[in-house]
Symmetry: C2
Subunit: 238 residues, 2 copies
DNA sequence: AAGGTTAGTTAGAGGCTATCACTAAGGTTA
DNA sequence: TAACCTTAGTGATAGCCTCTAACTAACCTT
């Protein structure tokens, strides 16, 4: 959202226009969803005529890709900041939930229905790795309190058969997930549980699948968080 | 997909055309996503000219609504059939996963990014209740094997404060979820965990967020299923 | 056989993405 | 300062799309 490394007035102007286009695109997406994003409408809003925006974005796809990039960067920043506060897994979960509720359509742009042809560029996957790094960092110094609730399968002994405990299969995978992170397999398993369980609650909540069911999704979110931390976190009060 | 209750030849023909339109719509959605669905293209494929389809569907929105309805019905049927086999929670989970992998875009049509304006008609919410009923039925005679892994918070005593255990808040809510189902609060909590955890894994898997991470999503799915059943189910081998 | 109902057509309005050729303005250099 | 090049913005246009309107042709009923 802020490409202010420009030097010449022309580059500055160009960056400013690009930023305004993206801002209006976000507003449009927030109200009508990503599929309703219209370059033409944005141009008119800005007092420009249709094709003018093609000087700034190669097309609709490039604009959306840029928005996805910004969304990932926003989440990565939020995660890094949250990890630095030392509030642990619960803090990270709260950050994720706040980020999601702040702009549901932005959340869906990152974690929602994918467009079949689209493949994320490399820098986006790098941002995803950065997010995973923050999560693994927090997990590194957040020992698990209640082994009985461990999301990995503690009842199984390691083996190499098709029924081997899942966590054992993750050994050393931190290298590919988080740019060489030396997390142990159990932490990787917990990171996956954090990701999938909280996403499971959040995405269904944001999609409105819980409306009219008579409970507060925040409580369900907190309850699922409890299965990840094994203790009563402040997440429970949210 | 089969409205074969028609009597007159005209109604029969009409139902047949509607079915063919929907079938081609599904093919189109499977390859290019729901946002790329084009009435015009379907008409041309069928040797008709554009506006002809408006005799059969009021518009694009009605067609998509109908597809969503069919998708819900398909899942509800699959759940009911699975529940009848007596294979328990694991069988239900396997059914869900097979249904999702069979047509990912169909899954996203039901559980993916919602379009901001859209509100599901009543019969669709009734189908959702039917799905929940199958789940609660299975949970009713699938006692929890390992209390330590209970997805509700067994360590907490019931109270009425803001930090009350989540399951206690669900008391009697089966009435609104599943058309008067008399499920106890613990079963409702487990149903929610089943739903959100498996959806969490499935939606991220189908969206491709696990590609290149070096593990088989089926194993993660099986591992999360284990946290729901508390024992080693056949789901592990999938 | 006459009449109404229904399926299908073409024409067209209005929206969109995107390309092209052109003008006008800005910055740079001789 | 004048000439030049680069860039921003324009209108025109092609080709999609949804959806409406008016018209024709087939079908079924009476």
């Amino acid at each position: 959202m802020a490409e202010t490394g420009a030097t010449t007035p022309r580059e500055r102007y160009r960056a400013q226009v690009r930023a305004e286009v993206k801002q209006r695109a976000w507003e449009q997406i927030a109200t009508a969803g990503a599929s309703a994003l219209s370059l033409n409408a944005i141009a008119k809003q800005m007092g420009l005529s249709g094709p003018a925006l093609y000087r700034y974005f190669a097309g609709r796809d490039e604009l959306i890709t840029e928005l996805i990039r910004d969304a990932y960067r926003s989440l990565a920043d939020a995660f890094r900041a949250s990890a630095a506060t030392g509030t642990g897994l619960a803090g990270l979960a709260h950050t994720l939930r706040a980020w999601a509720l702040d702009d549901p359509q932005r959340y869906f742009l990152v974690y929602g229905t994918p467009v079949p042809g689209y493949h994320a560029p490399d820098d986006v996957t790098a941002l995803a790795a950065e997010i995973m790094t923050s999560l693994l960092d927090v997990l590194a110094d957040a020992p698990y309190a209640d082994p009985a609730d461990d999301p990995s399968d503690p009842s199984d002994r390691p083996s190499d058969g098709p029924s081997a405990p899942f966590a054992a299969r993750l050994e050393g995978l931190g290298r590919e997930w988080a740019d060489g992170h030396p997390a142990p397999a159990a932490a990787l398993r917990r990171a996956l549980a954090f990701w999938t369980r909280l996403h499971g609650v959040l995405s269904l909540e944001l999609a409105g699948h819980f409306t009219g069911m008579g409970f507060d999704p925040a409580h369900l979110f907190a309850a699922e968080l409890t299965t990840l931390t094994g203790r009563e976190d402040d997440g429970r009060s949210g």
